[in-house]
Amino acid sequence: MDLLSSPRLYAYTGGRAFDPQRPTVVFLHGAQNDHSAWILQSRYLAHHGYSVLALDLPGHVRSEGPALVSVEAIADRVAQALLASGAKRLMLVGHSMGSLISLELARRLPQRTAGVALIASAFPMRVSEALLAATRNDVPAALDMINVWSHSSSIAAFDRKPSNPGPGFSNAWQNLRLMQRIARRNGPAVLSTDFAACNAYADGIEAARALKCPALFVLGRQDLMTSPRSAQPLIEACTEASVVQIDGSGHALMSERPNELLAALRQFAARVFAAAPVAG
């Protein structure tokens, strides 16, 4: 569905019509990605009592306009969309760059946010020099680097069970093709814009301290992009944080360990929505 028009802001609703009266799980993807990264988690929750809004962030695949240059600017736009949607009880789920956006969204919508789940998060979210250089000079090489480093090992990118979203699919090549599609459809600058937004974001600790709801950190033990250790400053800044580390997963938790991630999200959603009052 379109949450906003001119420019269009798109959200996948998990195969069910969006109902703002239901508790709503908002999925925010990472750099050079889109809503389809969450296919199994979003579709399941949409059929188990929740409304789902899995966004394409501005300038990514179905959402129009340029990719926005800062985490704060993206959060402003998404907050506007969520207010327009009429959803009153929100659980924000962000992956990597999306986790930073979820922190800023919670600052903007404190009354509506019942919980924030930060998947493969880190602060500061610095991008390695080698990757930044490739992003500037050789986008295809940069996409290959991201693809390899997103998995717990190079062979794990090709032999994980279950494969995502089901038997017969290649986790590695789907991830690469999606990033290539975005580069072709939305332009080669999306990646550097997203990375610049991650690199420049400075308010993580303040935003985590300001959270008025529980936070869940789901981290891949073999994450080469955002190691579990690099999430520690955010975890310590939160008033109420729980941590789930998933073995056998790198950065791409949604595809490497879809069932374990879903289990963590289900448990968290049940807890925070049971505890959170309905906003006025």
């Binding site: 199994l40 990118a157 038997p167 699919f169 599609r181 879809p258």
Partner: protein
């Protein structure tokens, strides 16, 4: 920290299969089970509704078959694959996922006979038309495209003259018109060529041939490159609009890069049912594990045989794209630097009887209707596959009375040359 994908040889052995979590088996277990037990009712509903990944019923997916599918996707750099009962079933699945009655295909004229039959006769009966073009005539490809065209199709190496499909050029034409290019990559396998790197969007194989490599199982594999933007094309409502046959699912919303495979499995395998058995997948996987080693030997032996035949006094012509005389030599150097496969044709001097005598005299080569076996194979089209075809129509198809098709196997090349030499002598006597 360097970023590197596993090499082709490693993927041929490992992709799609960690050691079996149930037993620790290192070899791929044969899951000979029609169905798979649900954990509970919620798990059952979630599997049926594509909310969870897993197996329900082996017509839709099977753990052993999935290893083959994921291995082939890995080797072809595709977003996924679907294994089918045969190569013909893979071609059928690709077409019916993209179009229905009223659809139109533009295809190379240099096709395997079975593919030609499906397109020219059978699908025409169901309202899907095909225009056949000379694969080297790029203007003809472009001119044949109509508003109803939904697919361009050719073989990486065409029958019978090993015509090389100019995939970069033909895919460019396809994409200019918002349609994908499907290629039959049976003769080349991903070891000789990766068609997605050159612009193809969909690939299928008769896995019976070089992938399996031992002539023991019939099967096919359809691979999606994930490169074609179905949404941007706007010509594929089966992939971009809600499907009443599966909970109103809009496949392109579910997956940005793999809606084709979602629909092909959830509709095509479900309804047409041309699935692969676990036993077959196991046999084909044994072949794929040694594909890199076998293909190198196939090509080496083929080059030896081609060299021998092309200078033999009983031979009129040899069609192999590495020869100076082949019209696609330059293109082959660009697209097929590792070699042009191990199936090729040559023309004997003399009559149809000479061809028959040659085939019957061979002792190492087996006379049968297949290619891509570890053992060397031969067939004489004029007296077998095309024996009812008048001479003028044979000529139009590039086949003469003396055309012989060879599939070069893995034997000692000296034994292959000896066998060919004595059979050629027999043919020369018949004249």
């Amino acid at each position: 920290m360097t970023a590197r994908y596993p090499g082709f040889d490693t993927l041929a052995l490992h992709a799609g299969q960690p050691p079996d979590p149930a037993t620790g088996a290192r070899a791929v277990p044969i899951y000979a089970s029609a169905s798979f037990v649900f954990e509970d009712s919620d798990h059952a509903a979630a599997l049926f509704n594509m909310e969870r990944a897993g197996h329900v019923y082996s017509r839709i997916s099977n753990p052993t078959v999935a290893v083959l599918e994921e291995r082939m996707a890995a080797l072809e750099t595709g977003v996924g694959a679907i294994a089918t009962a045969s190569g013909q079933a893979a071609l059928h699945l690709a077409i019916v996922t993209l179009m229905g009655a009223g659809g139109h295909i533009v295809a190379s004229r240099a096709l395997y006979g079975g593919s030609h039959n499906l397109l020219a006769y059978t699908l025409a009966r169901f309202g899907i038309e095909t225009t056949f073009v000379d694969l080297r005539d790029l203007a003809a490809w472009r001119a044949a495209i109509r508003p109803a065209t939904r697919l361009l199709f050719g073989e990486t190496l065409g029958n019978p003259g090993l015509d090389v499909l100019d995939i970069p050029a033909v895919s460019h034409i396809a994409h200019d018109h918002g349609v994908p290019l499907l290629v039959d990559s049976t003769f080349t396998t991903p070891w000789l060529m990766k068609p997605f790197d050159h612009g193809a969007d969909l690939i299928y194989h008769s896995a019976t041939k070089f992938l399996g490599g031992h002539g023991v199982a019939i099967g096919g594999v359809l691979v999606d490159g994930g490169t074609f933007d179905w949404l941007a094309s706007g010509k594929f409502p089966t992939l971009t609009e809600p499907y009443a046959g599966f909970h109103g699912m809009n496949f392109s919303e579910e997956s940005t890069v793999a809606p084709f495979l979602l629909r092909a499995r959830r509709e095509g395998l479900r309804d047409f049912g041309a699935c692969m058995s676990a036993h077959t997948a196991f046999l084909l996987l044994q072949g794929i594990e040694t594909l890199p080693l076998r293909m190198q030997r196939h090509v080496d032996n083929t080059r030896t045989v081609v060299k021998f035949l092309s200078t033999h006094s009983a031979v009129e012509a040899v069609a192999y794209p590495e020869l100076e005389s082949h019209p696609d030599r330059v293109l082959a150097q660009r697209l097929l630097p590792r070699g042009c496969g191990a199936v090729f044709s040559f023309n004997l001097k003399g009559s149809r009887a000479a061809g028959r005598a040659f085939v019957e005299a061979l002792r190492v080569f087996s006379h049968l209707a297949n290619v891509g076996d570890a053992k060397s194979l031969v067939i004489h089209p004029a007296s077998t596959t095309h024996f009812r075809v008048p001479d003028n129509e044979l000529a139009a198809a590039g086949i003469t009375q003396g055309t012989i098709r060879l599939s070069i196997g893995l034997e000692d090349p000296a034994d292959l040359l000896d066998d060919l030499a004595q059979a050629l002598k027999r043919a020369q006597k018949v004249g």
